[in-house]
Every structure is written in C-alpha cells, then in structure tokens.
Amino acid sequence: MFDTLIQQAFNALQQGSIYALIALGYCLVYGVLLLINFAHGDIFMVGAYIAFFVASTALGKYGLLPPGMPKWVILAATVPLTMLLTSGVGVFIERVAYRPLRLKGANRLYVVITALMMGIILEYGNLSILGANRLSFPTLTPRMIFEPFGARITITELSTIITSFAVFALLQWIVTKTKLGMAMRAVSYDKFAVPLMGIPLDAVIVFTFFLGSSMAGLAGLLYAMNFPVLDPFMGAMVGWKAFVAAVVGGIGDIRGAFVGGFLMAFLEVAVVAASDYIPFIKPEMRDLVSFSVLLVILTFKPTGIFGKPKTTKI
C-alpha cells in the first residue's frame, strides 16, 4: 500500500512537471498582455514534434553532429535547439496574429478568437502535412531505474521533475531580479505609461513570448521522452489541463501556476488511483473531474487561489 502511494506520488510529480511548465507559459503571457494564449497548448505540441525531428534527423542521420555520437551529447544538443525553434514559432504567431490586432487597439475578444483559431490551425496544419500516423520518439536516456521506498522511477522521470523545478527557479529569478523581469512586471501594471519611460514595449512582449514558448518546447521534449508517442492532438488536452492549472493557481502569478500544475496532476492521479477501489469511478473521468474543478473554483473564486480580485472602475 505504502509503496503504491509513493509510486503514484512520483507519477503525479512527473505529470505535474509538464503541466507546470506549460502553465508557466500561459501565465507569463497572461501576466504581461492580459491575453489567454489559447494556442499555447498547440505550441507545446509543435515543440514535441520539433524535438522529434531535431533528435531523429538533424542530429542523428543527416546532421550537424557526426554519426555514432553518444546519446547524452545528442540530448544536450536537442534541448537548446528545441527550445530555440519552438520559441521561434511562438514569436512568429505573436508577430503575424496578435501584434497587428494590438496595434489597431482591437477589442480583446478578437485577440482571444484569433488565439483559439491559431491553435486549431496548428493542429490541423500538422495533421495535413505529416498525416495521422503517430511518430515514436527515439530513446535518448539510458535505462536506469532507481528504487526509493520500493517505488520504481526511471532517470527520465527524475530528470523531468528536477528540470521543472530548476526552470521555475530560473523564471522566478528572471521576473523578480533582472531588468527584463522588471520591465515585464511594469508592462503588466500599465501598458500605456511604460513606453513613455523608455521601455521598448514590443521587445518586452516578444521576450515574454520567447520565454513562454521555449518552456512549452522544453515541456514538449520532456513529454516526448516520457510518453514517446506523438500525435497532432496531444497538445489540445494537455494544454487545456495546464491552462486549468494556471487558472486554479490564479493566473498572472508564477507561483500559482506552478503549484496549480502539480495540484492538477495530483487530482488526476487520485482519480485514476481511486478507480481501483471505488466502483463507479473510471479512469476516463479524469477530464470530467478536472474541468468540473475548474468550474467550481471559478464560480466561487473567480481569480483563482493566489489571484487578487480586481475592482471595476466606472
């Protein structure tokens, strides 16, 4: 019983790391632009695909590195490349879809619709280009298994968990201690006064998208390493869950997003684990439970757990 609990806790931590990474991206963009970037989940999906192509082609067969390299070198090269390319996708979307609307001063609703449509375009564009056959991700990590307290945990899972905590620490440092982070917080506080102070607004927004999308890319890579099957719609559901996590934590607050991601994962794993003991609960009810939690939380605390209520000025 005890080792099953530990095992499930590790599973939840692994799942939560991915959610938390994506939720952080949602949170950054929302914090700076007050825009729910609905395409973020699909950027994560694109990130997983980019990781696949980088790892299996560019670096292996035809690539930058000579063949016969040890796997850890490939992995070390895949991580920054994936993050860079994925952030390129995010910045590109911002440039072609969101920025024109922002410069026109369009209704925020139009931006949200554009984001939602962008996500669908990414999914179906991918489907029509690459077809519906699922790709399987190459193994890049050695098969090492640790057994703390009788639970089994592979090196991939462990590194996923450690990475997410490291990224969170880095992000916290960027936002609270660097000039760029200060600029980001300033933009989120008052978009109109910031350019008057000599802060390049567009550069700050691009940097925000860069950060958020690179983390989505990293999450994509980690996800592909943990669950090595890619399909064009994987981003939709995972992205949604991450978004729910960000909302539950209180969107616009980095700690909230991080905690929310793990909370979400623990909840899901609890539903799956409970399905063994309680007759009417089925593992397929994961989505049902998570979305219902979202509804309940938004009904009673519209700004999430860590969020601060805003007053409406007349």
Binding site: I113, T114, M117, I120, I121, V244, E284, M285, D287, L298
Partner: protein, 338 residues
Amino acid sequence: MGNRITVPTALGALLILMMAMAQVGALSQYMLTFLCSMGIYIILSASLNLVNGYMGEFSCGHAGFMAVGAYASSIVGVFLFVPDPVFGQPWLPMSLTPFAFPLILAVGFVTAALAGLVVAIPSFKTRGDYLAVITLAAGYIVKSAIENIEAVGGPRGFMGMGKIVQGMESLAGIPWMLVWIFLGVTFTIWILRRFVYSTYGKGVMAIHQDEVAAEIMSVDTNKMKLIAFMLSSGLAGLAGGLYAYLISFVNPASFTILRSTECLVMVYLGGMGSLTGSVLAAIVFAIMLEFLKPLEQLKWVAIPLLLILLMQFRPEGIMGNRELSDIFPKLKRFYRFK
C-alpha cells in the same frame, strides 16, 4: 397592416414550393440534405448570436448544448416509439409520431436550456476571458459526460432515430425532416427577433455596452444573462435534436470544439448583433463548406484562417450591427425588422 400577412405568406409559399419540388423530384436527396443542414446552421448561428453578438460575451461551448439537445431528443424519441435493448418496448404507436415530434424537440430544447444554467450561473460573477474558459469547459464536460454514460452507447454513439423518421414517412410521403427543420428555423428567428427587440433585448444590449452602468440603470443583469444564456443554449439544443433526426445517429465526436468553431465563424462572419447577418452568414457558410469538402483535413486550416482574417480586416462581419432594413429601407413596407 400589410406586414402582418406578407411574411407568413412568403414563408408558407417557400415551404410549399420546396415540398413540391421534392415531390416531383426536382430536388435531389443530396440537395434536400444540404438544405436541411443549412437550416440547422441557421439555427446555430442565430442562437449563438444572442450571446456572442447581442450580449457581447464570448461563448465557445455551443456544441456542448447542441449535444445535450441531440441526445435528449434522441433518447426521448427512441424511448417512446422504438423497441430498444436498453429502453425496452415502445410506449406509443408509430402513428403518433408526427404529433409527438414537436414535443420530442421541446424536450431537447428544455434539457439544453437547463444545461445552459451551468454557464449562466458562473456568468453572474465572471466575465470576458474567464467566461470563455467556462463555456469551453462546459463543452468538454458535456462531451466527456456523454462518453462515460454506457446506456447511450458511450463514445460509440446512439442510433434508432431513423426508424421514427421512416415511421413518419410511411404515414405521409412528404420530406418530413425538411418541414420540421423549416419550422424550427422559423421558430428560432421569430423568437429571437421578438426577444432581441423587446425590453429584455434592450437590457441584453445594455449589458454589452456597459454592465455596471446597466446595473445602475435598473437592468436586472443577472436575470438578463440567465435568460439570454438559457434561450441561446435551448435553441442550440433544438438544432441538436433536428441534427440527430436528420442523420439518425449521434455520437460525442460530432460535438467537439470544431462544431463550436463553426458556430463562431458564422456569428462573426454575419456580424455581431445582426439576425439577418446570422442567417446570411449561415447560408454562405453552408455553401462554402460544400465547396471545401474536397480539401478534407485542410478545411480545418481554411476555416480558422478565414476567421483570423475576418478579425484582422473586418471584425464587424458582413452586416455589422445592422439589419437588412437598414441597408434596404424599402423592405420596411413588408416587415418591421426592429
């Protein structure tokens, strides 16, 4: 006085013309199905326009309410008229179907309106982006819930509605589904027009302009939102019921976010807050879908792209905030649009 007779006469003439054309074979089965699906699109587009256009909120879970209506109508119909392994022997003879069909649709309407409460109640406190999230979540919840109910076939879907349509056709050989959908469209447009240009509709538009100010000016905003959401989702349920009987098969996979996206495209193509715009956009959109059929998967790149371009270059859509009578004032002789 003329405007009290012209429109019903014109509509009746149109319906009789279509039925006659179907009888003599001028309308092929393909054309009939196309017209029916166009009618369903009109209902969806007009009903979503109430929330997204007139009230200015952003609902993107319309497909969820459509699913509720579709399943409720199907289950009631099959329960009453068709022998089924789950629901047992039929309660009523097949000869009653033409009289019971409006009731079957009404059940779908009411059930979907009640499901609309799931969105309406949180909307009292939350607005804008968060409400959009709630509607999306509601759409997912409905789909997920239906998938988990084994009695209605879960993810495999539910059938048996075809027998009811056949039963009606054996009583009288007219294109029944076309008639019902025509009546459904007429009812939808009638009730929406009556609602939107009544005192209630003024309240809904006031919420769109400024909610706080509307509240101060004694508009009961919560009540307005409740009514608007429930009417909108109820009509979506009506469309769902008609859809279920049209293709005589429902499964959760037909009510995904893509279906909601279709509704959104129609509303913003037609213009927010324009009923005639909604109808026109639905007609244009249905024709466009037929032409995009050969594209298969790329269709779902083209439709969102269309919406993105709309948002960039003409966010007010075809009609903007106007009705047909604002463009062609002469029409006011026949019909009062507002």
